[in-house]
Symmetry: C3
Subunit: 212 residues, 3 copies
């Protein structure tokens, strides 16, 4: 199970964000399968990998029990998300609505990943990296398996927003802030930057683009 | 080492299936290298990744010691398989013979992976997922590294057969069946479905293929 | 942290090689991002994955705490390497200079990876594999994420040199050699073979190239 014992103050928020994050990411994985005209089995596989992949890597790296192995609800959420996309033909929804859900999941996971690592004694810099990995790795694996260019290779701001969110949380907690406040600010910072990227096409300059 | 202590009843079958599964999957990895006209070193790398990759992921996820790290025989089997494919020019064998060997390995691993996880206290749904991962992940990594479309993206029934096999085993054991009987039925179910896929070209419908 | 306690005799050499290896591999990751005209965030991601990816896999497989999670310096080195490549426009350096740095890192990591696993009780054959993985896996992940053919699929001698280096170290230590001497010989063997590959285009024959 996810170890949130040392961060009880923000447990209700975290629990809600945690399951919501899995669901949102699972939907995005199933949508990738829908775009590739895949089968229901691939829907389920992509939903699970995208939904729980980032947190799995985080838990392996920090030496914690992998959060979904000891219980059934996280996997069940992924399977339900895959079935829902298949049945509801969610790929006909407006893409924008999904982008916003994904932004919420990303911002939540950036804070949750950093908070879990930090609460287990991981130093600040690796904790920030855990937040970034939790928020982005599921999507990266999904893209590699689907054979499409990963989010890493697009210039749109995504990983940067995750980094801003987890760094904000860690810096504030290190400065003595209440973890609930730090979590809220970290979430808002990550979500806000990602919202600018979605709404205004904000992107990072590529190498040499801005230098000469 | 692979922890089969809690499932002593099916240990002889499991031991035989286990090493046979590594060998069969290692051969399929070496054949992928042969098709790409690779070197003997790549043969060995692909054989090892395909042979032991699925079980490695399972062990990392359930927190067990990785089964091949504490001993030399599993790696030795992979190296022998790579050398055998190189020397015997096994890529000229009929493809069908390999498909059948692979089906045996897949069905065996689906049961073994689920049984190992379940015997260590993992709940039913994650245990079934462990069976599917053990049976399919080695081949997925092999395909990604080789740059060919992974089995995940083909509609042929493969992952589904692994899911049927591991789910049959877990459901029967949960219902109180003898683990030897459950293992045999799980193996037969997974192998049988895969055999139908090979023999009759059975495939799953892609998204929207069957719906409109 | 990296557990070198049982190999104190070569600790100074190992520490130097270890950080140098991370830096050199991180630079090669950032250069891959530069070639793809990526953003500074992708530079950092590729530098970290390439710099610490191999050692991360090794530590997960042998069940040791992942070496960079409990401290900040390894990640800091990766970020500095990424920033340095961005600012110094290192992709305009002669490619040859990078190849030689990379060869040093590869040979060092092949010995370090094997030595760490062996010192924790892993048998000889899996220890050699750990050396090969530590030396090559970061680069493999980098190539897969970047969507370019991985070093595994090129015939140039690279993985073979890592295998020669780690095997030399393990065989010598098993025969009773001093670990410092064995480490030096292993490094020289791996680096020497890689140097021949770079300097003279030494490559392995592909399957059937040399056989008919």
């Amino acid at each position: 199970m996810i170890d949130t014992a040392p961060i009880d103050a923000i447990r209700p928020l975290l629990s809600w964000l945690d399951m919501a994050g899995v669901a949102v990411f699972a939907v995005s994985g199933a949508l990738a399968a829908a775009r590739a005209k895949q089968t229901i089995v691939t829907f389920a596989f992509f939903a699970a990998i995208t939904g729980i992949g980032g947190g799995t890597l985080r838990d392996l790296l920090i030496g914690a029990p992998v959060f979904w192995v000891g219980r059934s609800d996280y996997l069940a959420v992924c399977l339900i998300a895959a079935a829902a996309v298949w049945v509801l033909r969610a790929d006909r929804w407006k893409l924008a609505s999904l982008l916003w859900f994904d932004a919420i999941g990303m911002a939540a996971y950036a804070v949750i990943g950093a908070a879990k690592a930090h609460s287990l004694g991981v130093p600040p810099l690796p904790s920030i990296v855990m937040g970034v990995l939790t928020a982005s790795f599921g999507g990266i694996i999904r893209d590699v398996l689907a054979g499409v260019p990963s989010i890493l290779l697009r210039r749109e701001i995504y990983v940067s927003a995750a980094a801003l969110g987890s760094a904000s949380y860690i810096v504030l907690v290190e400065l003595g802030a209440d973890s609930f406040v730090a979590g809220g600010i970290g979430f808002a910072a990550g979500f806000g930057l990602r919202a600018l990227a979605i709404g205004r096409g904000l992107a990072l300059p590529g190498y040499r683009d801005g230098g000469d």
